[in-house]
Symmetry: C2
Amino acid sequence: MSENVGRWLRDEIENAILSYEFAPGERLDETVLANRFGVSRTPVREALMQLDAIGLIEIRPRRGAIVIDPGPHRIYEMFEVMAELEGLAGSLAARRLDKASREAITATHSRCEQSAAAGDSDAYYYDNEEFHKAIYAASRSDFLQEQCVQLHRRLRPYRRLQLRVRNRLSTSFLEHCAIVDAIFTGDGDEARRLLRTHVGIQGERFSDLVASMAAR
Amino acid sequence: MSENVGRWLRDEIENAILSYEFAPGERLDETVLANRFGVSRTPVREALMQLDAIGLIEIRPRRGAIVIDPGPHRIYEMFEVMAELEGLAGSLAARRLDKASREAITATHSRCEQSAAAGDSDAYYYDNEEFHKAIYAASRSDFLQEQCVQLHRRLRPYRRLQLRVRNRLSTSFLEHCAIVDAIFTGDGDEARRLLRTHVGIQGERFSDLVASMAAR
DNA sequence: AATGCCATTCTTGTATACACAAACGTTGAC
DNA sequence: GTCAACGTTTGTGTATACAAGAATGGCATT
């Protein structure tokens, strides 16, 4: 539990939204939330304010808070931006790579290899996240790293859906290999290009996303 | 005045921070702010929570809120990300350009021309912002547009400092011309490249920034 | 039967009060 | 004279009370 109740509630509600416990479009009643978590309305309001600022919910004056429903098109736009940021991170990482970052990337990369070989989609989902975070960190740009982590967090549920697609696990890992190679050989432009296509959801992958979203 | 006091306060305090009325590192006392704006502490706290979520201030538990001081290096990192996002916006704009966007870009571009010709740095600062916003809009990606506008807003004070540098006005406008040309001819890659170098602060422009920041 | 208006009720928005933690100053002892 | 400990003060964190606005349901009128 975080230092103060407001922060804790923010994380708690954020997780509930990202895990679809609070469905998109659902109205979040302050009193209900306060009772549920056993606190007063004040910290609940503070948490909601922050989630509104982040963009996870929308607070309409005098009409309460509702969970934002991004919809496939907006998700696509978010992946597009994510791809661009990851591309930048990759190109910076290639230029600035040091020993520690290299080892972190290698370590997470080999964990991905194991999960992919085992066909364990849930494990890969987690290891994949760590792999990408290692690249963010290797960019040595604190701001970029923060932006990437934040956007990654918001897209987390959809990234998970993507992995369900047939053969995605192995192709994803093969793409990782090429990315690692580009970064380690210092080819920033190639790392950027590979990461952009790896993260973006071009062509049929977009329809796959729409299909998995509809299936829920 | 916005719908509720909290939102209004958020904008008010945000402007005060961005215009250096509240200096970086300064502690923001809730009671003082409440008195100053003639409201109670509750909406002040809500405003501060939101500003913390945006990243303009930092609230340390039980120790109050302080205005974040980015420092030259972090500003550089933020410009780096901004350059990347604007590059993406430019390349999308080149691909998706329609009549309305084309006219908006042309209109803001010619206003920049007038301000630049007049050597009016303040007018150019404003027109330049509108020009860039027209490109964001032309990207037809709502999410990208929002991200760009938000980051642009945070970097606004520094963009203004940059324009003070000798000859920057005319070189900036010349770069605009090339960018418009690339977008209108549908050359997405070129638009991306030009915008990246236009927005980023490479080489001596970084020292210029540091110098102007130190001068304050 | 349908539609419009009014009243009631529920929920949000703001204020105030109280509790608790941290920082600073003062005093005493070594 | 300096350092440490205790008390006071200041300011944050949470709860509760009160006010104002929006939604909903019922009743009346057309």
